[in-house]
Amino acid sequence: MEYIDPKQYDFSSITKEQLEIANKDENIFDQKFETKPVGYFKDAWIRFTKNKGSVVAAVILLILVAFAALGPIASPWKTTDTNPMYQYCLPKSHFGSNGFWDGTETKSAPEKTYYYDLGRNAVVEGSVSKGDVVEGAQYYSYRVDTYIKGYIFDDLTPEEYEAVIKYQEEKGIQILYPLLDTSYTTNTKILQQHNNANYFYQLDKKLNPILDRDGNVIPIYLKDNEGNLVYYYHNGANYEVRIDYDQYYIMINGKAPLFYFGSDNMGRDIYTRLCHGARLSLILGVVVSLINIVLGIIYGAIEGYYGGTVDLVMERISDILVEIPSLILLTLFQIYLASTWGPVPALLLAFVLTGWIGTASRVRMQFYRYKRQEYVLAARVLGAKDRRIIFRHILPNAVGTLITSCILMIPGVIFTESTLSFLNIVDLESGSMTSIGTMLAAGQDVLQTYPHVIMFPAIFISILMIAFNLFGNGLRDAFNPSLRGVEE
């Protein structure tokens, strides 16, 4: 480029003809962006999806929510279905008998227990192996089907009896079995055992089975004078019978019982109950955290926006409330309101009473930070009302933190709820409603013998907590603009 010495030219006297418009025949536009604009949420989404851990947590969370919402469809049971016969059945799936998740348990037991299990058809075929002899008793090791209950004495009405006879003839399946003759012994200890319909064979004084020469048990079926087996005797109009309960159950219900996660002390399906408990926990968690967030926003916004005396008074109130341990509030509300309002509203109220304080102080800080800024002043000058400034201009700054704290509040609520119902401070067990904590408490009593009762609720709540916390942390990082570009 040539250097023009300004002194050589006289700029003060340029005539109009000397001037020429440079871009005479073109319109000038700003150049269009070739990239798409990235808004706040889009940016958060991009950073969230980059974080593998939280994406996995989100997927797991979705699966758990789907389990709670849709799980009961896959199960024929209701939470209130009880059957004392089927208490503490082990988890069983549709995949058949392969030693894993099929409702069987490996057992090493002395002769008398083995013959008892054998007599009630509970021993899985081909699983028996002879063990050592301990203190004179032969031990056997075998798998036993926890769903097989064997024989029971029952009292059938004439209609029921007819139905059983008809079913036997149609299907060719035996349900009625001969009654027992206990007249061969006078030993009271043995006679007591014969109240159990599964002891259909002779016992010796140590309650071991008496075996014949071929090693088989000796049945003690009741016979009439002509030597026929006796299948019933009349009790009024009713029939006293000895039936194969497993077959009888199939006859009545159309299929054998099956509990995916096993059954508890009252023979209730743990799978279905876990779904309902999870539902209650999740709904409670979401509702409580939404209410708390809304309350916190309103309280914090008023505090922060108006400041001064309003702020001082409101801060002192929340200062006092925050010092009350939530455990005490929750307990007190249960004692007070559970009988009149029901346990869930009482729980909800106690959670809501102090739960909003954290959010409120966070919102208050945001307001102190933004309320003196120029753009707020501009909005006020333009005539915006207080409400508009609060909700339209200042609050959106905090939306990321609010969403994050909303999500992170849910696991806290679920944890507290399950703890309280575990400690029996809150009793959520009523009707079709149950709680994970109640299930855990029921499982605690049989932790040693039937660990499956506690295992599934414990696994569920642990995974739920981990997933929620991971997801919440991922969200927090994603919504934090100061972390933009830090990762790489």
Binding site: D319, I320, E323, I324, P325, L327, I328, T331, L332, I335, Y336, P411, F415, S418, T419, F422, L423, N424, I425, L440, Q444, L447, Q448, P451, I454, A458, I461, S462, M465, I466, F468, N469, L470
Partner: protein
């Protein structure tokens, strides 16, 4: 500083008093049940109700309660909880305190060094695989509820392996420091510790990584200190500023204990009395223990705040703007 401390202490008492008033009113709106034990004189209970004003209006009851409280530290009598009826509430509750403190003290003794150690290690190995492993473990330990940890420990170590008792041994029989007692509290101590180890680790790592990236660390290296020297003398010391108050807070809350762990492992501590007072509706005990928990919270909060000033003189509490 002195003025600030006095102000804070006064504020603490005011807060405590307001909470106590609210709790008292709410609790005494329910009738105090006074069952008559068979071996007591007939008019004993009637006199007792009169002395404590259980049948008077609420405000009169509160006046009687306050008078008793400030003159003789009388919190009333336990009506149902604590085995024998009509022993002073303070006696029923405080005799359970040692068991709670015993278990929690063990837990603190192991969780502080382990937590700090892991946190320091993770911070020094930041973003390497050791750090990743530790942060995953911390995440799991913080998320998994304490009762699940307790069940796992109880199932494997006392039921399956049979190494430890599944309930705490009776101290009246075995004493506090016999091997029997100590081995029976190993599992509850472990289940208490997981959470606090994780908490300490996370906090220490966060603080130390922040200090390690600060400019005076670069200066320390520039003037010729080795990495170890710089870390020990400059970084660790500075990162302790926020961690030390946390430790103080932990020490005070050893008295409050854990309801869950006490329930699962049968520890005869404060938590078990609290649960009992709820189950049998012994409101005097409930009020005392509630206030006990509130007081621990208040004192811990106060000491934590004040200790910031002691640890780091740059942090001036209270005072004016300058």
């Amino acid at each position: 500083m002195g003025k600030y401390v006095i102000k804070r202490i006064l504020l603490m008492f005011v807060t405590g008093f307001i909470i106590m008033t609210m709790l008292f009113m709410m609790i005494r709106l329910m009738p105090v049940e006074t069952p008559t034990p068979p071996d007591m004189p007939v008019d004993y209970v009637a006199n007792l109700r009169k002395a404590y004003g259980y049948d008077e209006p609420l405000l009169v009851q509160y006046w009687i309660f306050l008078k008793g409280l400030f003159t003789e530290f009388d919190w009333g009598l336990a009506t149902k909880a604590g085995g024998s009826a009509y022993t002073p509430v303070t006696q029923v509750c405080l005799e359970k305190l040692p068991a709670t403190m015993y278990v929690n003290l063990f837990s603190i003794i192991i969780s502080i060094p382990i937590g700090l150690g892991l946190g320091i290690f993770a911070a020094l190995k930041k973003n390497k695989w050791q750090d990743q492993v530790i942060s995953i473990l911390v995440m799991v330990a913080i998320s998994v509820p304490g009762f699940v940890v307790a069940f796992l420990l109880q199932y494997f170590f006392s039921f399956k392996l049979g190494w430890f008792d599944f309930q705490m041994a009776a101290t009246s029989r075995y004493g506090w420091f016999s091997w029997k007692t100590i081995s029976s509290v190993i599992l509850p101590v472990l289940s208490l510790s997981f959470g606090s180890i994780a908490g300490f680790t996370r906090y220490t790592r966060a603080e130390l990584t922040e200090v390690l990236t600060s400019e005076f660390m670069a200066l320390a290296r520039a003037k010729g200190l080795t990495r170890t020297q710089a870390t020990i003398h400059h970084a660790l010391r500075n990162s302790m500023v926020p961690i030390f108050p946390m430790i103080i807070g932990e020490f005070i809350s050893i008295m409050s204990g854990s309801l869950i762990v006490e329930q699962i492992f049968g520890i005869p501590g404060i938590g078990s009395v609290y649960l009992q007072s709820i189950n049998v509706r012994d409101y005097n005990v409930f009020l005392f223990l509630s206030m006990f928990y509130v007081a621990i919270g208040l004192v811990a909060g106060l000491l934590v705040d004040l200790s910031y000033g002691f640890v780091d003189p740059r942090i001036r509490m209270g005072g004016g703007k300058a």
